[in-house]
Amino acid sequence: MQHRYIPMTETDKKEMLDTVGVTSTDELFADIPEKVRFRGELNVKPAKDEHELTKELTQLAAKNVNTKSHVSFLGAGVYDHYMPSVVDHMISRSEFYTAYTPYQPEISQGELQAIFEFQTMICELTGMDVANSSMYDGGTALAEAVNLSAGQTKRSKVLVSKAIHPESMDVIKTYTAGPNVEVVEIDVKDGLTDLDHLKAELDDNTASVVVQYPNFYGQMEPLKEVQELVGEQKKTMTIVSSNPLALGYLTPPGEFGVDIVVGDTQVFGIPAQFGGPHCGYFATNKKLMRKVPGRLVGQTVDDDGRRGFVLTLQAREQHIRRDKATSNICSNQALNALATSVFLSVIGKRGIQEMATKNMKKARYAKKALEDAGFEVLYSNRFFNEFVVKLDQDVNHVNNQLIDKGFIGGFDLGKVDESLKNHMLIAVTEIRTKEEIDQFVKELGDIHG
């Protein structure tokens, strides 16, 4: 049977077999030893035609609650934001999405320039000197930063705040097992990294200190104080994971003199997609330029003197340096970096501030509404768009009831911290309306009883 993706006809096949000098394609597989030759039929479901398959998968998709069917107050690293239509339209240009890594610059200027623009935008947001072309996600970007710090300082201990995203903490622990770096977890006090504990653990074997800004609980870590503390240990690096949207309002980490800033640009036009693909970013100071993992695009000129762009400083990378490379990363998240660039072009210089502050204002409205309804909200008012609410019952139980009311409730903090059982992390973004917030608070109040 002729499949629509496969153009070879019987006539083609005959002509080609003649040219090759064999009578059947089986002869081309004769080098596979009979003992390992697979003679059965692959046990996968039979093919479906386009219409039937689309129908089946549409029904499968319809089983999932989503942010189009429900109003979401769930964040914890993945957020429901404004999605300008142009973003998906631009990344759907197939010259972008069906291209490989831009190894041939003459026919890849589009992708290369888009990445160069992405690198620039990340530097602008973070206040750093250099940004790469993307990482898998914020969590692995952070883990790569940790390993970079150990390699660079030749030290074997890192101090990681427990107020970073718990899954990032898990990823760091897995990534550091290879180079054998010790991870010391720094306690949290009142929703912030305990600086006394940090100070006590900081010593001349500390490769880096890792904090998240704003942290997992939405609270702004006092980066200036952290940096001052770290500065007391020469060579120790400061690594900051940042929600880049928050940097539309907060002072960028680069201004405090930190060494590496990483994070995820899912907040900029990338759908949640059940957790991926999102898009990690990786930014450093100039000193670390040649240690950066992954691809970098640089500006140059062509033979006729025209400006153009190429992949550069490739001596850091696996395809040149093999086991001496700064990382094993090859494929990254280029298409989502493009989505990020389009989004940041849409939102622009003023819009990024407007978007950040609208998140903060709506979150503050929600916080007050919950307090007015008798809920206890934890920690200080120095938060971005997430805060912690204490409930009188199991969060999972509450969320199940909220689903029936048309809401996706917040994150169950008890899942990651026993002491925060019955506490919900609530995210309020710029697209939540007053009406939605009021209704959500009312439903929570009703469940709370």
């Binding site: 993706y5 490739q314 622009g348």
Partner: protein, 495 residues
């Protein structure tokens, strides 16, 4: 004619950056109105934490954005633009229906932390995909968590490390990698804390079994192998190699970069591999996206399953759950559950093809490659004589003697509207060109490409300058890469 082209192209000015189009006061966004009472945010923060200078993002209108990125897309070559025989990258057609399915709200807008009961459809798809991959490769269990091939390699090696450690075997510090291997193999070995040791390729382009016996020792943690290998040749002595490595206590790692050659013909699980990664963005049509995102699921044998990254997706009484209670797991390797969006595309593809279709994919990919190889072997040197699998390597040695390097040939191909093959890789073939046509290309396209390569070879004999100075028809000519590396300019700065 060509000269006129060159002159007119030379007149093109620098193509503008989006920042250079920016004008104060213009905007391309519209956010929802603030419908809650305004509050003074600055009252909550110390002054030093409030951003003073806005980031220099462009201020442009929506149409300007659309024109800019549309123009950029036209300065880019994708599979939809033309033939893309980039060896080892499997640049096959990326079906349009996949793009439609992944954009369904029930896949696109699902949050990883919403209750499992509300995401059963997504989890069912993942489970079904895992099962399909298990059957295609003959492995016991798969995880979809790894974001790309290189991450899969590293995760697989971490599992092998955990396996040896669980046996009290802590002295296994070496991972053997063929000299023809992709650069990620030794790089992943290093990141997983191993030392990469090289095994040689013999005169037939296969792993030298005697050399393998020489380098294998009680220090061997694993052998990493691509089969068919990066020369496009099937490792015929795979059974003996597996015996050698297993006999010394090592494990076998399968790099699935070249699975497109053997679906329905052979399975890594049957060949003796203990850990396998696949590149869903290659064999299973997740688009490459200009460099990513990919997806690199990892499959293992039953004895290795307890080391899989957590969480592990399980099915019980038709309910899907994520199991976090995995005491022997190497841990989490990525936030959430992998690149679900790419996995949806791969699943849609597998369901579009079915078992017969997948086998036909490999059959035709291999026939296409052999056809091209035989038609080109008179004009170009063919280092290895036997039938190839889905790709093959030819050498530009003969042409180099005429002053035309493989790089020049690659650049000249651009003038014919083709993406060049992978060049100068694998490292063990001089002036290498690695050609992978895939099964989705028609015979007519293959013939056009072959004819182009032969005519370029003729140009090399008759007027080499035209090849040496190529490309002549692209929006830019060859780039000064030395300048880019010597004086790195990695971001735009306003003058």
């Amino acid at each position: 004619m060509l000269k006129n082209w060159v002159i007119s192209m030379a007149k093109e000015k620098d193509f503008p950056l989006i920042f250079e189009m920016s004008k104060e006061g213009r905007k391309g966004y519209q956010l929802p109105e603030l419908d809650v009472p305004d509050v003074d945010l600055d009252a909550d923060f110390e002054d030093e934490y409030i951003r003073k200078e806005a980031p220099e993002l462009p201020e442009v209108s929506e149409l300007q954005i659309v024109r800019h990125y549309t123009a950029l897309s036209k300065r880019n070559h994708g599979i939809d633009s033309g033939f893309y025989p980039l060896g080892s990258c499997t640049m096959k057609y990326n079906p349009k229906v996949n793009e439609e399915i992944v954009r369904l709200p029930g896949f696109s807008f699902v949050h990883p932390y919403q209750a499992e009961e509300t995401a059963q459809g997504a989890m069912e798809l993942m489970y079904d995909l895992q099962t399909s991959l298990e059957n295609i490769t003959g492995m016991h269990q798969f995880t979809l968590q790894s974001a790309a091939g290189a991450q899969g390699e590293w995760a697989g090696l971490m599992m092998i490390r955990a396996y040896h450690e669980s046996n009290g075997d802590t002295e296994r510090t070496e991972v053997i990698v063929p000299d023809s291997a992709h650069g990620t193999n030794p790089a992943s070995a290093a990141v997983a804390g191993f030392k990469a040791v090289t095994v040689k390729t013999n005169e037939r382009g296969l792993v030298d079994l005697d050399d393998l016996k020489r380098v294998v020792s009680e220090k061997t943690a694993a052998l990493m192998l691509t089969n068919p290998n990066t020369l496009g040749l099937f490792e015929e002595e795979i059974i003996e190699m597996a015996e050698v490595v297993h006999g010394a206590g090592g494990r076998l790692y399968y790099d699935g970069a070249n699975l497109n050659a053997i679906m329905g013909y052979a399975r890594p699980g049957d060949m003796g591999f203990d850990v396998v990664h696949l590149n869903l963005h290659k064999t299973f049509t997740g688009p490459h996206g200009g460099g990513g995102p990919g997806s690199g699921p990892v499959g293992v044998t039953e004895e290795m399953a307890k080391f899989l990254p957590k969480p592990v997706l399980t099915k019980k009484d038709n309910q899907y759950t994520f199991d976090y209670n995995r005491p022997d797991s190497i841990g989490r390797i990525k936030p959430y559950y992998g690149n679900f969006g790419i996995n949806v595309r791969a699943y849609t593809y597998i369901r579009s093809m079915g078992p017969d279709g997948l086998k036909q994919v490999s059959e035709n990919a291999v026939l296409n490659a052999n056809y091209m190889m035989r038609r080109l072997q008179g004009e170009f040197e063919l280092p290895f004589e036997q039938h190839c699998k889905h790709e093959f390597v030819i050498s530009g040695k003969k042409q180099k003697k005429m002053g035309v390097r493989t790089l020049d040939i690659a650049k000249r191909l651009l003038d014919f509207g083709f993406h060049p093959p992978t060049i100068y890789f694998p490292l063990n073939v001089e002036e290498a060109m690695m050609i992978e046509p895939t099964e989705t290309e028609s015979k007519e396209t293959l013939d056009e490409f072959i004819d182009a390569l032969i005519s370029i070879s003729n140009e090399a004999k008759e007027e080499p300058e035209i090849v040496q100075d190529a490309p002549h028809t692209t929006v830019v000519s060859r780039m000064d890469e030395t300048l880019a590396a010597r004086k790195p300019v990695l971001k735009y700065e306003k003058e």
